[in-house]
Amino acid sequence: MGKFKDLFVKRHIEFSPFYRWHHWIRFFAIMFLIVSGFYIAYPFLSPEMDPNPTGFLYAKGRTFHEIAGFILISMFMGKIYYFFFVKSDRDEIRSFKDLFSVKKGMKQIGYYLLIGKHPVLSGAYNVIQLLAYIGLYIMLLFLILTGLILYMHVYHESFLVFLNGPLTYLEVLLGGLASVREIHHILTWGVIIFIIAHVYMAVFNAVYGKEGTIDAIISGYKWEIPESEKLK
C-alpha cells in the first residue's frame, strides 16, 4: 500500500441515498423474482402434506412473485423519473455524450482487454456500461409488460383493468399467451447474465481502480484524485 501513502484523494458523493436505496430494493426484488419465477415455471418444491386444504404453496409463490413484480415496477418508474428529472443525477445523462464516440468505445474495450488505458468519461458510465444498462432497461420493460399480461389473466379484477385493451393488443402482437410466457422466461435469463457480468465488472473496477466504486453503491462516496494532484 506504500504506493498510495502520499496520495491525496478527494471524497465526493457519487450516488445519492435515493439512488442507492433504489438500487438495492431493485436488486432484492429481481433476485426474488428470479427464484420465484423459476418455481412458477417448474414447481420444484412440494408442500408438506396437509389434510386441510389451506397450504396454498404455489398460490403463495405466485402472490409473492406478483408483489415483488409490482415493487420492481415502482422502482422502474421511480428510476425513469429520477433519470430524466433529478438534477443531482445529471451525471448519468451526461454519459450519453460518449455513446456515439467510437474512439472512446474502442478505448474502453482496449482497457477491458488489458491493453490500453481507461478513457476519460464525460459522465458516470462508460460506453460499454451504458449499452449494458440500456439493454437491461429494455429487458426490464418487456419483462414488466409481459408480466402484466400474465397477471391480467390471473387476476381479473385488478386496478389495471384500464390497461386490458393495450395489453391484449400486445399479447396478440407477441403471438398469444404461451409466447408471452416464453418471452418472459427468456428475458429472465438475459437479466441473470447481466447481473453476473455487472457484479464482476464492479468488483474488477474496485480491485484495480482507486476510486472505491463498489463502496459507492453502499456509502454513496467515491474517491477521486483531484486534477491538482494528477499534475504533480
Binding site: A41, Y42, P43, L45, S46, P47, P53, G55, F56, L57, Y58, A59, G61, R62, Y111, Y112, L114, I115, G116, K117, H118, H153, T168, Y169, E171, V172, G175, G176, L177, A178, S179, R181, E182, H185, I186, T188, W189, I192, I193, I196, A197, Y200, F204, Y208
Partner: protein, 384 residues
C-alpha cells in the same frame, strides 16, 4: 329493463324468421323429430335452458332458445371441407346416442356437406353451385379445415372441375350471410399450417375479406358449434368477439380458471409423472404438460360427449388446441412450457435445447470468460 327490451327484440326477430319458408321437404318439425328419437319435450326444454346459460343469457330466455332451435330449418347452411380430418363434423355427429345438438344439426337445412350428403361427383358439384346461387347472401357458411393457398393451392384440388379448395372457399364466402370457421384448422391453420407448413395452409380469414367468426378447437365441442348457429338465429348479428375473433361466450375464459383441478394447482400438488400417486388423487397436471393456463375455451365447463368428460378429467393435460399455432407454440405436450425445445438453434444442433439449457450454457460461457479475465488481469494488471 334492458333485458325486457332484448327479450322483445329477440322475439320479434324469431317471429319474422318463423314466417320464412321451411326448407325441409318432409315438413317435419323439430319436436316431432326429437319425439321420434326418444327425446321428451322436458329434455328438450332442459337442453334449451342449458344452452341459454351457456350463451350467458338470463334463464327467462329459455323459451326463446327453444323457439330458435325450432327455427333452425329456416336458414340454409353450407358446410365446406378443406384440408382437414373431418374431426369437427365427427365431434358433432358421433355421440353414444343421438343428442339434441346432433339432431338439430340433422334438422337444419344443410344444403351441402361432403361427409353427409348422398350426392357425389358432378351431382355434388352441381348441388354446391346451385345452393350458392339459390341462397345467395342468405346462407350460413361453415368451413372446416385449413386452406392451401396461393401457389400451393393445388394441394387441395376438389371435385370434377378440379377446382382448388381456395377458390371454393372464396366463392362460398363472397356470397354468404355469415361465416363460421369451425375448428382450429380453418380458424388458425392447425396442424397443416404447423412449421414448415409445406402446403402453405392458411386460415379462412386470410383467404376472404369478409368477417369470419372463429370456433377453434381440435375439435370444438358440439355445444360450441351448435351454440354459434343458435346465437346467430337468435340475434342475427355476430357475437361479441375476443382478439382472435372467437365468440366471447365460449372462449372468454381460461380453461385453467374453470378447471376442476385448480385447487391442487394453487396448493402446489402436482402429478409428477403419469400413473403416480398424485395422478390417482387427481392432482394438477401442470408439471406433466397441461397448457390450460394459456388456453381460452369452455372445455372445463361444458366438457365433451354430452357433458361426460374432457381431457383434464381423464388425466391428460390440455394441449391448448384452441389457440393460434398451438402445434408450434404449446409443445412439448407432456411437460411444461419451460421444457419447450428450440429446433432452429444452430441449424438443428440445439434441437434438444430448452430456454433454461441455452441460458445455463451462456451463463457458463460468461463465468468461464469472467474467470479467465480475472486470472489474466492478476498477471497483467490493467493500465490506469
Amino acid at each position: 329493463m334492458e333485458q325486457d327490451e332484448l327479450y322483445l327484440s329477440l322475439s320479434e326477430r324469431l317471429g319474422k324468421l318463423s314466417k320464412f319458408p321451411k326448407m325441409r321437404d318432409d315438413g317435419k318439425s323439430i319436436s316431432k323429430l326429437l319425439e321420434e328419437n326418444g327425446i321428451s319435450r322436458r329434455d328438450f326444454m332442459k337442453w334449451a335452458a342449458a344452452m341459454t346459460a351457456m350463451l350467458s343469457l338470463p334463464a327467462s330466455f329459455s323459451p326463446l332458445m327453444a323457439k330458435a332451435a325450432e327455427l333452425t330449418d329456416r336458414l340454409p347452411v353450407i358446410w365446406l371441407h378443406m384440408a382437414e380430418c373431418t374431426g369437427c363434423s365427427e365431434s358433432l355427429l358421433r355421440s353414444d346416442a343421438p343428442t339434441i345438438d346432433s339432431l338439430i344439426f340433422d334438422y337444419i337445412s344443410l344444403e351441402y356437406h361432403e361427409t353427409l350428403m348422398a350426392a357425389a361427383g358432378w351431382q355434388a358439384e352441381q348441388t354446391l353451385e346451385e345452393s350458392i346461387k339459390k341462397y345467395k347472401g342468405r346462407y350460413i357458411l361453415m368451413v372446416e379445415g385449413g386452406i392451401p393457398s396461393d401457389d400451393s393451392s393445388f394441394y387441395l384440388t376438389v371435385g370434377p372441375h378440379g377446382q382448388t379448395g381456395e377458390s371454393h372457399a372464396k366463392e362460398a364466402s363472397d356470397n354468404a350471410l355469415a361465416i363460421f370457421a369451425i375448428g382450429t384448422c380453418s380458424s388458425f391453420g392447425g396442424v397443416q399450417a404447423a412449421a414448415p407448413n409445406p402446403t402453405n395452409a392458411q386460415p379462412l380469414h386470410k383467404v376472404t375479406n369478409k368477417p369470419v367468426i372463429n370456433v377453434p378447437g381440435c375439435p370444438p365441442s358440439e355445444k360450441n358449434i351448435v351454440g354459434n348457429v343458435l346465437h346467430y338465429i337468435l340475434f342475427g348479428t355476430l357475437p361479441a368477439l375476443d382478439a382472435y375473433n372467437r365468440p366471447k361466450w365460449a372462449y372468454g375464459k381460461r380453461i385453467h380458471d374453470q378447471c376442476e383441478r385448480r385447487g391442487h394447482f394453487d396448493a402446489g400438488e402436482f402429478v409428477q409423472e403419469f400413473g403416480d400417486e398424485g395422478a390417482k388423487k387427481g392432482y394438477c397436471l401442470y408439471k406433466v404438460g397441461c397448457k390450460g393456463p394459456y388456453t381460452f375455451n369452455n372445455c372445463s365447463r361444458e366438457r365433451f360427449n354430452q357433458h361426460t368428460s374432457w381431457p383434464v378429467q381423464v388425466g391428460h393435460g390440455c394441449i391448448g388446441c384452441s389457440e393460434p399455432d398451438f402445434w408450434d407454440k404449446m409443445g412439448p405436450f407432456e411437460s411444461p412450457l419451460a421444457d419447450r425445445l428450440y429446433h432452429s438453434v444452430f441449424s438443428g444442433l440445439g434441437a434438444d435445447a430448452t430456454a433454461d439449457k441455452i441460458g445455463a450454457t451462456i451463463l457458463t460461457v460468461t463465468a468461464v470468460g469472467i474467470a479467465a479475465h480475472a486470472a489474466i488481469s492478476v498477471i497483467k494488471k490493467p493500465k490506469e
